[in-house]
Amino acid sequence: MTALTTLIVPARQEEGASLRPVPWRRMAWVIWRQHRIALGGVAAFLGALAAYVWILGLQLHHAYAAATSCNPASSACSDLITNFNFMNHVLQGGYVLQLVPPLIGAFIGAPVLARELETGTFRYAWTQGFGRSRWALAKLVALGVVVASAGGAFSVLVSWYYQPYFAATGHPALNLSEASPFSLALFDLRGVSFAAWTLAAFAIGGLAGMVIRRVVPAIVATLAAYTGLALVAANLLRQHYLSPLLTRAVNVPGSAWVMSQWWTKGGKFAFYGWRDAPHDLLQACASPPGPLGKPSQETLAQCFAQHGYTQLTSYQPASRFWPFQWIEGGWLLALSVLLIAVTLWLVRRRAS
C-alpha cells in the first residue's frame, strides 16, 4: 500500500504546484486600476446624459398627463396636445441616443489591446505569470459585461422616457404623436438591444485594436464598422427576423411596422399605391369628387373595393416587439462572442 502511494505521488511536487494558475480574481484590481479613468469617463458621460434625459422625461410625462386628462373640446387642450407632440423633437426622435453605444464601445473597447500594442507594454503584460490568453480573456469579458450593463441600465431610462409615445395609442381621439415600437431610431434604444449593441461596439473595438495596434485609428475604424453594421441591421436585416403578417384590413394599426401595401384583383397582383392605379379606375373613382374637389384616400380605397379590388398589407405587428428584441439581442451577442474569440485567437498567436 505504501509502495503504491509512493508510486502515484508526482515525482516533483513543486513542479505540480507551480502549474496552479494565478487566480482570476486578481485581475479585478488590475482591470480597475488600468481602466478606471476610461470607466469613470463613461460613468460621467452616461450620468450627465441620464440626468438630462431624466429631466426631459419628467417634462414629457407631465405634458402627456396634462394632454390626456384635459377636455378634448377645449382650446386649452389642443395647446397641451401640440405641446406634447412637439417634445418629440428634443432628442431628434431618438437619433441622438443612437450615438451612445458606439461611443462607449469604441472608447472602452478599442484601447484595451491597441494601447498595450502601441506603447509596447504588451511585452510586460504578456510575460507575467498570469498568461496572456487569460489576461486578454479577463479584460475583454469583464469590460464587456460592464459596458453592456451600463448600456442596459441606460436603456431602461430611455424606455421610460419614450413610454408616453407608445401609451398614446390608447387615446386615438386626441391625435397625439405616436411611435411604432419598430421605428428606426427607437427600436434599438429599448429592450435588450441597446445593451447588445453596446457590447457589439465594444467587441468590434477590441478586435480593431488588436488588428490595427494603434488607439486612434482603431477608434475611428470601430465607429465606421459599427455605423455600417447598424445601418445594415436596421434597413436590411431587421424586417426579415420573422415573416410578416398579411391583412386585407384597410386600417392597419399605427403601431405596426408596414412592410408593403398593394392591390389585387381576382387573386392577382394589380398595382401598389393608388398613383399606379389604372387610368380608367382613377377616372371612375375621381367622380363624383370629394368635398375638396379631390377624393380622399379613404374614399378612393372604398371606391377601389367597390370595383373588385382588394388591398393587401404585409406588416409586423407591435406584439412582435419582444421576439424581435430577443432575435436582435441574440445575434448581436453571438457576434460579440465570435469577435472576442477571434481577438483572443489573435492575442494567442500574435508574433511580436
Partner: protein, 303 residues
C-alpha cells in the same frame, strides 16, 4: 539543465528571416551575454525564448524542456523588454501592486526596500521617472518575481554610464546571491566584460560563438608580428587579421602553451577584443560540440 535550448530555430517576418538555423544550449547558472550587430536577431531570439513570438521553424525550450509561454515557463522567467515598457500613468507603487497581482510569487518587501535604496519615490508616476530609474523599476519588478531565469533585452542601451553601472551591479547581485540565471542582449561590449561569464555571438541571424567566457579567453590568443608574414600565417585557425604599418595582429584559436612562431609575440585576449574580432568576421565561428573549431578563411581588414 539548460535555461534556453534551441535547435534549428528560425523566425521569419514576411519574407525576411530574422533568425535562422539557430542551435544553442545555454546552461543554467550563468550570466549569458547575447551580442551581435543591429538586426542580428537578438531581440527575435529573446522574444522566442520568453514566448512573445512563435518560431517559424525549429524549436526552443526553456528551463529544462518547458515550452516558452507555457504557465510553468511564464512563472519562472522574468523578462525586461527593450526600452523597459511600463505603464506611464501608474505610480511605482501601482506597478508593484500590478505585478504582484499578475504573478504567483512577488517579494513585496524586497521590491519596496530596493526602490527606497535607489531613491525612487513610490508615489511618482512611472512616466515621470528618469530613464535610469525606469530601467531600475522594471528590473526590480522582474527580480521581485523571484525568477529562475532573468531575460533582459538591451537593458542599458538608453542609460548613462552611472545608471548603466548601477543596473548591471543589481543584475550581478541577483545572479551571484540568488543564483538567478541571466540572459541579456547588448551591444555595449565594454559592460559585458565585467558581468558576463557566457558569450553568445549572433550575426546575420546565425549563432557564431556560444561558449563560456573563460574557455573562450583560454582558447584564443592575439599574435603580433611582422605584417609581411601575416598573409602566410596558416598554422592555426585564424579568426581575424588586423594589419598596421609594421605589425599585424592576428586573433587565433590557440591556448597559452601552444608554441609561438619565431618573431611573433602572443598576448591573452580580452572579451571585448574577441567579440569585436568575431563580429568583423561573420564567417568565423566557435561553437561547442561537433562544429567546434570550424572556421572560415579570414578576410583582411586593414587599418
Amino acid at each position: 539543465m539548460n535555461v534556453v535550448e534551441a535547435s534549428g530555430l528560425g523566425k521569419r517576418y514576411g519574407s525576411t528571416w530574422a533568425l535562422r538555423e539557430c542551435s544553442l544550449a545555454i546552461p543554467a547558472g550563468h550570466v549569458a551575454a547575447l551580442v551581435g550587430p543591429n538586426g542580428a536577431g537578438k531581440t527575435t531570439l529573446l522574444n522566442l525564448a520568453v514566448g512573445l513570438a512563435v518560431p517559424s521553424e525549429g524549436g526552443v525550450t526553456v528551463l529544462g524542456g518547458r515550452p516558452p509561454g507555457s504557465p510553468a515557463a511564464l512563472d519562472s522567467i522574468a523578462f525586461v523588454a527593450q526600452d523597459t515598457p511600463l505603464y506611464k500613468n501608474l505610480s511605482a507603487a501601482d506597478m508593484l501592486h500590478l505585478t504582484r497581482n499578475l504573478n504567483r510569487r512577488f517579494d513585496q518587501a524586497y521590491a519596496e526596500a530596493r526602490l527606497v535604496e535607489l531613491g525612487i519615490p513610490l508615489k511618482r508616476k512611472a512616466g515621470r521617472l528618469s530613464g535610469g530609474q525606469q530601467a531600475q523599476l522594471a528590473l526590480t519588478l522582474a527580480l521581485a518575481r523571484r525568477p529562475r531565469l532573468l531575460v533582459l533585452d538591451e537593458p542599458v542601451a538608453m542609460l548613462d554610464p552611472i545608471a548603466r553601472h548601477d543596473f548591471m551591479a543589481t543584475v550581478l547581485t541577483a545572479a551571484v546571491d540568488d543564483g538567478v540565471s541571466v540572459l541579456l542582449s547588448s551591444h555595449v561590449l565594454a559592460e559585458l566584460e565585467r558581468v558576463a561569464d557566457y558569450l553568445i555571438l549572433l550575426s546575420q541571424g546565425r549563432v557564431q560563438v556560444a561558449d563560456e567566457v573563460d574557455d573562450l579567453l583560454a582558447s584564443h590568443r592575439v599574435l603580433t608580428g611582422p605584417t609581411d608574414e601575416a598573409g602566410t600565417y596558416a598554422e592555426r585557425p585564424v579568426v581575424h587579421v588586423r594589419r598596421a604599418e609594421a605589425q599585424a595582429h592576428l586573433l587565433v584559436r590557440a591556448s597559452a602553451d601552444d608554441p609561438v612562431p619565431p618573431g611573433w609575440e602572443a598576448h591573452p585576449v580580452g572579451l571585448e577584443e574577441l567579440a569585436l574580432a568575431y563580429l568583423r568576421e561573420p564567417g568565423a565561428s566557435a561553437l561547442r560540440g561537433p562544429s567546434r573549431g570550424r572556421h572560415a578563411e579570414p578576410s583582411e581588414v586593414t587599418r
